[in-house]
Amino acid sequence: MKIDRRSFLSFVIGGAAGTALTPLPWKLTDDMSIWSQMWPWTPVPAKGEVTVVKSACTLCPGGCGISVRKVDNRVVKIEGLEGHPVNDGGLCTLGLAGHQLLYGPRRIKTPLKKVNGRFVAVSWEDALAEVSEKLAELRTKGETHTVACISASDRGTVAELLERFLRVYGSRNFIRMPSSQDAAEVALYLTQGVRAMPGFDVQRSDFVLSFGSGLLDGWGSPVYLFNAHSQWRDSGGKLVQIEPRLSRTAAKADQWVPINPGTEGALALGIAGEIIKESLYDENFVNKHSSGFQEWKQLVLGGFSPEIVSKVTGVPASVITDLARGFARAKRPLATFGRGKGTSPGSLKEVLAVHFLNALVGNLGQEGGFWAVPEPEYIEWPELEMDQTASIGTQQGRIDGAGSNIYTHARYLANRLPEALLADPGYQPLQVLFISEANPAYSLPGTAAFKDAIAKIPMKVSFSSYLDETAELADLVLPNHIYLERYEDIPAPFGYPQPIISLARPVTEPQLNTMHTGDVVIQLAKALGGSISEAFPWDSYEDCLEQTLGDKWDSLMEEGYWVDSEFESPQLSEAFETASEKFEFNNREISALGNYSLVKPDGDEAFFPLVLIPFDTMRLWSGYVGSPPFLVKSVGDTLLQKNDVLVEINSATAASLGLKDGRAAVLTTPKGNAPVKVRVSEGIMPGLVALPRGLGHTANDRFLAEKGVNYNRLAGPVEDGATGHDAAWGIRARLTKA
């Protein structure tokens, strides 16, 4: 057959058309995409039996119930527990990503000991023996007071076991990490005579006046607050946010009142003055159930007129009057304190000023008001039998000075540790430091000073589950199970208006060679013997917890939580345990604190013309637990670009500094400097620089470390004259072109 041009073309075209009509090309395309995609390294998650376990989250102090979905023994999803009084089904970013911590690369796999500056794995027997030998040696020498413990919380059985251990061993140095609870406790004690947790009944309030509280940025129990905010949207409740930056809370508020940072207390007194002047306060409460009102009134009316307050705060006088009227005329008004996530104590006088607003409108113990929430009294352990060594040890003062003549009101002063430890270069006041569920080398303002201070402690023992900044500095790491692997009781979160206990329980077997810190304490006590061993009459932590919870154990196992359903606020005539049995606007101790004064940020204004303020977001966590990979991923490019953090400045500030949006700059404070990028925003007052908290880790995993700047590295504490707590919110700063 002859192949001419015509038949060749017919063949090619016909062939192409024919092939196109067959399934061949489509099948080949399909197969090719399958062949080129089915790589053996693409994981295929195994199927299995699906189960759901009720537990509770301990990642933040929020105390949410969780419902954990498992496939066989793998945790695949964490969701909010429906019907839980705190969060009822919703869950925050951190809780949702909790299983990334369970399986993540930042976990410590086995007990570690530092040898020549490097960690080597050791057995639990050796690690515990090393600690107990050191403790026994100090006891023989009569130096029991040189042992201390830093813990994120002082509530719940694990914290109480640690405190009990220290006490019966002979030391009073149990130190809680700072938070707004510090100042709140003192304010409650001074005005109401009670030792209780502050509770804010925000869900039932119809006018919330927030003095910088990041109600929607992680303050208190975040999901509870989100729910409250949605309820206000449906019910017409109002939120007024007073803070220098348009935070998420401010953006969601009905009114944003920008204010010079650190002057919130003055505004509270200004508002109080207007309420008094216009006689809008609750006369029944003030006349019948309060004392010291007249003296306080003189102080407020004398020094805090709207005009004076306006000059200090930058809030127009008319706005102050309007806020006073709006607040006092609302049915269920409520004022909140504790800036940002509430991780800084703040100034006592400021907290008192805000708390007096609550008293003025008579919302104490009322629906939608401020509640003093007593601790559920379930931890009733046998009275401690202290031997002579322990008695002598506990007669020594605390290392941080809390409760001493100078710092009468404070219970814990972690911020004073560097000063106390570095006071005498020739003397080392601490021999052993335990660190439980806290990361002070990252989270305490002034990280450099803290690191210097603890470097000289001969034995630092971390119970951290993660290789965080503090664990890296430790001499021994005795890794705790994480919350998904252990039992733990979780008392009511900060700000929650009801006594409640939730129970975290093991959702899965421990993944690594870790041990419950509660068991570590019990084992150490048994190794030390004598009165110490007798103070811990339990076989294990689980045994201790079950016995402690008693009849609540079954309902906790069943429901995951226990609420004191009979709790109601006492009658006003019985609510106050002060000398006058009334709410005290003024008394001897309060007047001894002196008049309200501003807490100025550290630094010389001439060298540092700006003020650096921190801010919090739900996507970044700055406490013991650093943000897991999903959260870092969810951080927007207005906060983080590559490894550079963006600091927010007002367009006027940017113009005066000659800086443009997106430009590199250097941020300098009295504590150090850091490279940053600039983000020009209209949501911040001029003269300020805002930096998010939760970045700038040097440890944890590669998904979190070396990104951005740690605010606490650039900041430092400012001691509150009234309590000794860290009252700083911000530090003076300079921003220059890079």
Binding site: V71, K77, G90, C92, T93, G104, M618, K633, N650
Partner: protein, 266 residues
């Protein structure tokens, strides 16, 4: 194309309740096996089915205001299922399901041409430039109900279609024709701590989502609720995600493609 008892699953997001916390994003990542890398700050390369945008009113201090806008796949119906992405896919890797109103994505069919990404007006589609890696045993957290995607394919929000399948299977097993409203909810809806997201069948007048969205099916689902709007409604994409806000500047931004500067990733 019309099916009997056809569902039209859709979503209503109340922007006045949304606090921009990001729980929807994280819940979605955990549910749908979304991978993560060391640097996720280039949002054009970062795979996230749900993304929360930050809008602002463009005013100067102190009149500035912000709003957060969570954006899943909008599951466009267009005219009779002609979604922008479905129309251009040469591999039939994405399809409009007339039975549920869900725009599907079949990873093994996708050969990565990315036409759909160009066609989508909402940037919901994302390309896998890298093979996913779960370090140090983190693949234990993977959900077996959702397949893991590989390098070279496009992915996007599925309205957690696997949850629909599971609910339907359960209903079939129990001899029921219909699934209940609460039986099929997306991971983001379930996780939202503000209760800002409502999900359900827009064809079912009993469902909360229909009560809020008030879709006018005679006019391609346009809402009769004065608080509601859809994104870029003028394109005729006929989306199934409705947004609610009392603030006029927010509603205007939802349908104004000339405003570019004011939309940024939060």
């Amino acid at each position: 194309m019309k099916k009997e008892n056809a569902k039209r699953f859709g979503m209503v997001i109340d922007l006045d309740k949304c606090t921009g916390c990001g729980s929807c994003m994280v819940a979605c990542m955990a549910e749908n096996n979304v991978p993560f890398r060391e640097d996720e700050t280039d949002k054009l390369l970062s795979v996230a089915w749900m993304r929360v945008y930050k809008l602002n009113n463009g005013k100067r201090f102190p009149d500035a205001d912000e709003c957060f806008l969570p954006r899943p796949c909008q599951h466009c119906e267009g005219h009779n299922g002609h979604s922008p992405c479905v129309s251009v896919c040469p591999a039939t890797a994405t399809d409009y399901d007339a039975g549920t109103g869900i725009v599907s994505q079949i990873y093994t069919r996708c050969f990565g041409c990315r036409y759909c990404m160009a066609a989508c007006p909402y940037h919901v589609r994302l390309f896998n430039w890298w093979d996913p890696v779960w370090p140090d045993g983190m693949e234990k957290m993977l959900n077996p109900d959702v397949s893991v995607r590989m390098r070279g394919v496009v992915e996007k929000c599925s309205f957690c279609f696997h949850r629909h399948q599971l609910a339907q299977q359960k209903a079939d097993y129990e001899g029921r024709d219909e699934i209940e409203e609460g039986e099929y909810q997306t991971a983001c809806t379930q996780a939202c701590p503000a209760g800002a997201i409502v999900f359900g069948d827009l064809n079912n007048p009993e469902h909360e989502v229909t009560r809020l969205a008030k879709p006018d099916h005679g006019h391609e689902g346009k809402s009769k609720n004065p608080r509601a709007f859809r994104l870029l409604e003028r394109l005729g994409t006929n989306t199934k995600v409705y947004y609610l806000s009392n603030r006029e500047w927010v509603r205007r931004l939802g349908d104004n493609y000339q405003v570019k500067k004011e939309q940024q990733h939060s």
